[in-house]
Symmetry: C2
Subunit: 328 residues, 2 copies
C-alpha cells in the first residue's frame, strides 16, 4: 500500500511516500481502508519533537527516539472497516497517512451516511474538544460572555457555533486576520477581535461593552493567556486546552483567590479513556444533520503532498480541516 | 465604652484595653451593642502586617501604615441593634473588639432567637465560607471524595459536617493532632489523617482506598497544597480559599491539562459584594435549628484578654470559634 513514512525527526524533508505492506490488525483492532486522513498540529509538532500521544495506551505522552523510526504519522482517519464494510471514523494513534490503517475497535465510530469523511475528521478531535469545553468544563447559564481563541480554527470554529445553544449570551471570537474574523462572525460570533497580545485586554473589554468576560477557551498560553486572564470577571473561568505558543502559563493562587477565579485544564484524552467520545460525536453528527452546525472543511491534499499540507498548516496559510486522500 | 485599641503593628503588646467614646454610625450604618466579638486569624495577621479587608468598600485589601493607628480591631460581632433592639450578627470591618460597634446595614443580619451569639459568629464568615466551597465552587454528584484541610478549624469543621448533604460520598479530614482528628471524625469525616506535608499524598490515597481524590478544599498552600494536588484525580478540583502557610502555590498549566484538573480560587468577599451572605446564613441557621449542624464553639475571653485570645489562636492552642465578651 502507499503510505507516508517519516524517517526521523526534522522538517518536511523527513516525510516520504513509500510502498509498505498492509498492516495486520492485532487482537481488538480494526483494519480500515482509509478514504481521508486528518492532518493535525500534533502531527507537525511530533515530526519535529517526536512527542506523540499513545492513544492506544491510555494517552501517556511518549517521545520517540531515532530508534523508533521510521513511523507512519497520522492519528485520525475516515474510511471503511475491512471486516464489516461499515463507514467509520477512527482514532488510530499513528499510521493514518496510508491507504490502510488500524485502530482499536473502541476508538472506531460508525458514520451516518450523510456525514462526509471530511466533516467526520473535522469533528472527531476538534469537534469533540469544542463540545467538551462547554459540557465538561464551562457549564453556562445563558448569561455569560465566552471568549473563543483561534475562532476560525478547528476547535474554535466549532466552539463559536455551539456557543449559543450551550448557553452563551455573547461569543467573542479571537483571530489573527480579518478574513478569519469574518469567518468567525459568519459562524455566529457576536464580536470578532484581533488575537495579537498587544492591547488584547482592552479589546476584550471593549467587545464586551466595557465589562470583564466570564469564560475564556485558551489554547495559546503565553502573553495571550495573560491578556485574557486580565479581562476575566469575578467567578470567571479560563479553560486551558492547549499551549500553541509553547509558553505554558503559570498561575499564582493569590490571583485566583481575589475574584474567585478558576483555571481548568482540559485534555481530550481524559475523555477518551473515561466516558469516551460517543456522546459528543452523536450530538455533533445530529447537529450537522439538522443544519445547526457547519464544520469548516479546508483543502484535501493527495497523500504524496503530506509534507506540503503540514507546512501549510504550520504557516497558518489554511482555514478549515485539512485532509489527505490516500487514493490520489 | 471599653474597647481594645491597637496602637501600631507588632505582637500582642500593641493591644490595650482603653475607654473610648461610643462610635456614631454614619448614614447607612447601624450602631450595635456588642455581646460577642469574633476573633479571627485575619485579626492576628493584621496586627503584625497591617493588612486588612475593607469590607465596607468592596473588599479591596488595604495595608495600614503607622499613621492609621490607633485602630480598634475586630471584623465580626453579634449583638443588639441600638435602633430596633433586634439581635443581629454583623460584618463590621474593624471596631468589633468593643462594647459598641458600627456596621453597614446590608452587612447586618437578623438572628433567630435559638441561635446563640457564639454560633452566629462561628457561622458568619467561616460557616458561609464552608457553605460556598460546595455551592459556589465544587458542586458534587454524590460520588466524590472530598478532602477538608484544617478539619477541626472554623471553616473546616463546618465543611466536614456539610459534606454528605452537599453530595460528598466520602470526606477525608486533615488535622495536625490526634485530638483534632477525633473531632473531625465525630463531626462526620469518613477518615481523618495527619496534615503534615511529609507523606501526605500517600496518606490521602490510602484513606481513599488507593484511589486519587476528587475535590480538595485548600487553605494552606505551600507543601500541603503540593501534597494534595499530587493526590488529585483526573477531572479533580482544588479549591484554594486561603494561604495559611504564607506560601501561595503557583500552578503550571500543563499540570492542569494532563488530567483535566482545575484550580478554583475562592474569597468570601466576592460573595459578600455580589449575591450577599443571606442565602448561606439562612440555610446554615436552619441546619442548626434542625440539629443537622453543630458549629464548634471554643472559649469566650473577657474583652481585656484579647491579646491572649489572639496568641492562643496563633499558637493553635484552641479548638472552635473564639469570642470576646465586651461586658466581662
Amino acid at each position: 500500500m502507499r503510505a507516508i513514512r517519516q524517517r526521523g525527526l526534522g522538517g518536511p524533508e523527513v516525510l516520504e511516500l513509500v510502498e509498505l505492506p498492509r498492516p495486520e490488525p492485532p487482537e481488538g483492532h480494526i483494519l480500515i481502508e482509509v478514504t481521508r486522513a486528518g492532518v493535525n498540529f500534533t502531527d507537525v509538532q511530533g515530526r519535529a519533537t517526536g512527542m506523540r500521544t499513545m492513544v492506544d495506551s491510555g494517552g501517556a505522552p511518549q517521545r520517540l527516539s531515532q530508534d523508533d523510526f521510521p513511523v507512519v504519522p497520522g492519528g485520525e482517519v475516515a474510511g471503511v472497516r475491512a471486516d464489516t464494510g461499515e463507514r467509520v471514523v477512527a482514532l488510530c494513534g499513528t499510521g493514518g497517512y496510508a491507504e490502510w490503517a488500524i485502530a482499536l475497535e473502541e476508538l472506531t465510530y460508525p458514520l451516518p451516511a450523510e456525514i462526509t469523511d471530511e466533516i467526520a475528521v473535522a469533528l472527531l478531535v476538534q469537534g469533540t474538544t469544542a463540545w467538551h469545553l462547554y459540557t465538561s468544563c464551562a457549564r453556562l447559564s445563558g448569561q455569560e460572555t465566552v471568549v473563543v481563541q483561534a475562532a476560525a480554527g478547528g476547535a474554535g470554529s466549532i466552539a463559536v457555533q455551539l456557543g449559543k445553544s450551550m448557553g452563551a449570551a455573547r461569543i467573542i471570537g479571537m483571530a489573527s486576520s480579518e478574513e478569519k474574523r469574518q469567518l468567525a462572525l459568519s459562524l455566529g460570533a457576536t464580536q470578532a477581535i484581533d488575537s495579537a497580545p498587544e492591547g488584547l485586554t482592552d479589546r476584550l473589554l471593549q467587545a464586551n461593552d466595557g465589562e470583564p468576560v466570564d469564560v475564556v477557551f485558551d489554547m495559546t498560553g503565553g502573553e495571550v493567556f495573560e491578556g485574557c486572564f486580565a479581562a476575566l470577571a469575578a467567578f470567571g473561568t479560563v479553560v486551558v486546552y492547549g499551549v500553541a505558543s509553547g509558553a505554558p502559563p503559570t498561575i499564582g493562587a493569590r490571583s485566583l483567590i481575589a475574584g474567585s477565579r478558576s483555571i481548568k485544564g482540559f485534555w481530550l484524552m481524559d475523555i477518551i479513556r473515561t466516558v469516551g467520545l460517543e456522546g459528543a460525536l452523536d450530538d455533533l453528527f445530529a447537529r450537522v444533520l439538522e443544519g445547526d452546525l457547519r464544520p469548516v472543511v479546508g483543502a484535501t491534499y493527495p497523500l504524496g503532498e503530506a509534507a506540503r499540507a503540514q507546512e501549510d498548516l504550520l504557516r497558518r496559510r489554511t482555514t478549515g480541516k485539512l485532509c489527505l486522500d490516500p487514493r490520489s
